[in-house]
């Protein structure tokens, strides 16, 4: 798919020419580089790769990326901040004597590219004395192409006052609910324009646009000093401004207002063992933490031991270890429409794909890169290399990891109907999991009792705690295809220096039996 053509012209043609002319031009121009910029970028890439090769690199790749971000933050009835940022630069990675080197600079021209190649080679050579095993990369196809995620409306061409009006109406809707004290809302748009070139001949140009609306509603009781919050923060998608226009945000805001007021006066949960039904708005995070991170092969190999940790899965476990109940199927998927980790090609030029991590409850495969795949005997990478910036070293990052729904339609009420004493968990609460992804504790934004199959009143201060294999083994009900939803996190941290990754997880609501629930309100 080709990158959309310059759209400023189209925008001006829509009838907002006067307004557009007052505030869009510099912004749009800065991000619609012309043929001269493209030529300078290509020249920098070719110079860097040639210089690396001349200095002894057996492989090199370069990412020359341009990022544009617009953020609008509000609270109650005022706009707190409008900011835009732009960043452009190059990052070169190469292998010399089996050791990696990397150098990055914010100046994109032939001279800087040449200097970066020399720095990266010097780093690789200095570290080569410590090599105990030379890096070997799985084969990859030579790719020359362009790709972009489909968007209906470019958020960077929507008038600012349209965006602020959206947030103000969102805040007003929540504030109109009696008892609501504060509302914070924010919308962030990200535009990544990426160029990849390698010594193997790949040349890939991509554009990815993401839209991140989020808000949080707070109710405070000043007399007692108590307060509660209802965040709605995990709805970002790889979409354009149509996501703001098409989704019923105001309905969510009003609902969040009522929920936070009810939460302030709700009773504390009685700790104990419960059957729980987990909504996609929280289950996505449980999948992220317990499945997404445990199936990263670099963790299982100990490469993250000093930071994010290792995994309870061992490199030899694929194909032999039961991960959960037979109804549990989990897929890695970098092609999922709207997914935050969806892309055409990863950051070493491998085409995106979908594959099973867990099939019929058995752990069957890993998340891999070209460096990782050969270490478990695989010939090809699953395409999981990612750098969060041109200045960052690309390394293994999570694809969208999603739980497949039941084959036939199963409603939320049908999941409740099998529960005598239980809880229904919705939305993000506090999450925490150990460094091998066994023991976890997840809260929810809204938690309600289920009694004899019927949904009841809200409880507060509740969190469920379990152990990954026990939790997934206790899963005995999944919603059907109509209940499947995509949620995502925009700031998944990993690596040193730390990098953030945006990643989505699709799932239906699911039921888990006999899970420990804590009251987190008491000291």
């Amino acid at each position: 798919m080709a990158i959309p053509p310059v759209s400023r012209r189209q925008f001006i043609a829509t009838g907002s020419a006067l307004l557009a002319a007052t505030y869009v031009p510099d912004w749009a121009d800065a991000f619609q580089p012309g043929p001269a910029d493209d030529a300078r970028r290509a020249e920098a890439a070719e110079v860097a790769l040639a210089r690396a090769t001349a200095l002894g690199a057996t492989y090199a790749d370069i990412r020359i990326n341009r990022y544009r971000r617009e953020s609008i933050a509000t609270r109650e009835r005022q706009v707190r901040n409008v900011s835009r940022s732009a960043s452009y630069g190059l990052g070169l990675r190469l292998l010399v004597n089996g050791a990696w080197g990397f150098a990055a600079t914010n100046v994109v021209d032939a001279a800087s590219a040449r200097a970066a190649a020399e720095q990266a080679v010097a780093i690789a050579k200095a570290n080569a004395v410590l090599v105990t095993r030379k890096v070997v990369l799985a084969n990859a196809d030579k790719v020359v192409t362009t790709w972009a995620n489909p968007i209906k409306r470019d958020p960077f061409e929507v008038p600012l006052d349209t965006k602020t009006a959206f947030l103000m109406k969102l805040n007003e809707t929540a504030m109109a609910v009696p008892g609501v004290s504060f509302v914070n809302s924010q919308i962030l748009f990200v535009d990544e324009q990426k160029y990849f070139a390698s010594t193997e001949g790949s040349r890939i140009t991509q554009r990815l646009v993401r839209t991140y609306p989020q808000f949080s509603v707070t109710a405070a009781d000043r007399a007692s000093g108590d307060f509660q919050a209802r965040p709605v923060v995990d709805r970002a998608q790889l979409m354009g401004y149509e996501y703001v226009e098409d989704y019923p945000w105001f309905q969510d805001a009003e609902k969040a207002g009522h929920e936070v007021v009810e939460k302030l006066t709700s009773k504390p949960v009685v700790p104990g063992r419960y059957d729980i039904v987990v909504d996609p708005s929280q289950l996505f995070l449980a999948i992220h933490e317990s499945v997404g991170h445990s199936t990263e092969l670099d963790r299982a190999l100990g490469w993250e031991a000093n930071m994010a940790g290792t995994s309870f899965l061992k490199p030899t476990d694929a194909g032999t270890l039961r991960f959960g109940a037979k109804i549990v199927n989990l897929v890695g998927d970098r092609t999922q429409p709207g997914g935050l980790a969806t892309t055409g090609y990863d950051d070493e030029g491998v085409k995106s794909e979908r594959w099973h991590l867990v099939r019929d409850g058995m752990f069957v495969d890993w998340q891999t890169t070209r460096e990782l795949a050969p270490l478990v005997g695989q010939q090809r990478s699953h395409g999981c290399l990612h750098a969060d910036d041109w200045s960052s070293v690309p390394f293994p990052r999570m694809p969208n990891v999603s739980l497949e729904p039941a084959a036939t339609e199963v409603s939320l009420d049908e999941l409740f109907s099998g529960v005598k004493r239980g809880l229904f968990v919705e939305g993000r609460g506090v999450s925490s999991i150990d460094q091998q992804r066994y023991n976890f504790q997840f809260g929810g934004a809204v938690i309600r009792e289920i009694t004899n199959g019927k949904l009841g009143g809200m409880v507060k201060d509740a969190a469920y705690q379990s152990r990954t294999p026990d939790f997934w083994a206790s899963c005995d009900g999944l919603g059907g295809p109509a209940t499947y939803r995509l949620w995502g996190t925009s700031a998944d941290g990993k690596g040193e220096p730390g990098q953030t990754n945006a990643v989505s997880h699709g799932c239906p609501p699911a039921r888990f039996r006999n899970v420990t629930v804590l009251n987190t309100g008491a000291a």
Binding site: V79, V82, S83, W100, A104, V129, N306, S432, Y438
Partner: protein
């Protein structure tokens, strides 16, 4: 990294463009940086690189309407575009109700936390240091993983009202995780300094390896409330949740652990152990930092908790204006220390009848801001103490513990001498009780 003249020239250029485009007030900051790292695992280097970047941010006001823009291109046309962009955003933005005029000329102390060696890493010396680290791991039959970083930056800022400042800072750090060959023991240790030449890599790896060896084959204990000794790293893993809560506005708005009843705050209350002092000081000999708050207020020693009493909360310039008081000269770092002579870690253990020694915490999250209730897990070294001696390693535990209760007058038995963990100087703590809620299988 840009020098003072280069940085302030960019500031002045952007300010002039902003004024020319119609800005009534403006602030510009220029941040230039160089970051070098080597990451290793499985006793070999996994990634290593160097990155240079520049961040130019301008915030402008047209009337009371605000716009902000950031870019990393210092070419003359890009600087003009940046200023125009910010002014254009301001023109179409609503009135900024929290506008405070930018600062005028102010006098700042000298920034001391910068060393040239950290900005210009000697690659061969780094490889030699890491070879020593990996050799130590191999000799002790543990698998080493770690991160060596050396970052330096220069930050300049200027305003339309005449404020100008420029500070350099640097930070070198080495952290090492050692895991026993069978995967039954794990240790972690980290050290940092602004001068790369002062980083003692051998000490760091020996501490880490020692913990890995001593934590092998841990035994399970029942979750519950136990007396504990938190090593400095463990305190560092928790204390940020407390220091981040020391904000006046959220307390005044009734949504902080320091909000009192009936709309008041808890300033003046003896909420904590009388042994506890927390203050900020940009000139602290062990942790010098830039002598300016992020808003540009000249930083000076600033007490937050004195002998257990909540003395001050942080006031931003806007909130100070609202409350007709002065913006606070910090915090810019946090020094946590004992108001009484410190107790060594060894003496804490000798004086413990029964309890736990905790190396480090992991994945700590705030469960409830009202009490700063945290959850998380122990990691990389947990031991059972009885009759004044470490007896055996213990399986990791999940905790759910309020920070207010943890540092309450009745719960702090001893405080050690603080160690540097940027942005903290942080001591070991001996506590009467700490609440664990479940066992973790993780090592």
């Amino acid at each position: 990294m840009l020098n003072r003249d280069e940085s302030l020239h960019i500031c002045d250029t952007v300010l002039a463009h902003a004024k020319g485009a119609g800005a009534d007030d403006a602030a510009v900051s220029v941040h230039s940086s160089v970051e070098s790292h080597a990451r290793f695992a499985d006793n070999r280097i996994t990634t290593s690189g160097r990155a240079e970047d520049l961040g130019i941010t301008t915030t402008v006001w047209v009337g009371r309407r605000r716009g902000a823009a950031t870019a990393n291109d210092a070419s003359p046309e890009a600087l003009k575009q940046l200023a125009n962009e910010a002014v254009q955003i301001a023109r179409v933005s609503p009135v900024h109700r929290e506008y405070v005029p930018t600062l005028g000329p102010l006098t700042y102390g000298e920034a001391r936390g910068f060393a040239p060696a950290t900005a210009d890493v000697d690659l061969a010396a780094r490889a030699t240091a890491l070879a020593g680290v990996m050799d130590t791991c191999r000799k002790e039959k543990v698998t080493g993983a770690g991160f060596h970083s050396a970052n330096a930056s220069a930050t300049a800022a200027a305003t339309a009202n005449g404020n100008r400042r420029y500070f350099r800072s640097s930070q070198a750090e080495l952290s090492v995780t050692a895991r026993s060959a069978a995967g039954t023991g794990s240790g972690y240790y980290a050290g940092d300094h602004f001068d790369l030449n002062k980083l003692n890599s051998q000490h760091i790896v020996e501490q880490s390896v020692g913990k890995a060896v001593r934590s092998r084959a841990p035994k399970p204990i029942e979750p519950g409330v136990y007396p504990v000794i938190l090593e400095p790293q463990a305190v560092a893993d928790l204390i940020g949740f407390l220091t981040n809560s020391l904000d006046a506005r959220t307390a005044d708005e009734g949504r902080s652990a320091f909000s009192g009843k009936d709309g008041k705050t808890r300033v003046g209350e003896a909420m904590f152990s009388e042994r506890l002092n927390i203050y900020s000081d940009p000139m602290h000999a062990d942790i010098p930092v830039s002598p300016s708050t992020t808003e540009g207020i000249p930083a000076s020693r600033f007490s937050l908790i004195e002998a257990g009493v909540l003395e001050n909360l942080e006031y931003s310039r806007f909130w100070a204006q609202e409350k007709t008081c002065e913006a606070t000269p910090g915090p810019v770092n946090y020094i946590i220390e004992s108001s009484q002579p410190p107790t060594s870690l060894d003496d804490m253990i000798k004086g413990m009848a029964r309890g736990l020694v905790i190396s480090r915490f992991w994945y700590v999250r705030q469960v409830d801001p009202r009490s700063i209730m945290l959850t998380g897990l122990t990691r990389d070294g947990l031991w059972w103490v009885e009759k004044g001696r470490i007896q055996y390693p213990v399986r990791n535990l999940r905790f759910n513990q309020s920070m207010l209760a943890m540092l309450a007058p009745w719960n702090v038995e001893a405080i050690g001498a603080p160690e540097r963990r940027l942005p903290l100087m942080v001591p070991a703590l001996k506590l009467s009780g700490f609440a664990f809620t479940s066992i973790s299988d993780a090592i």
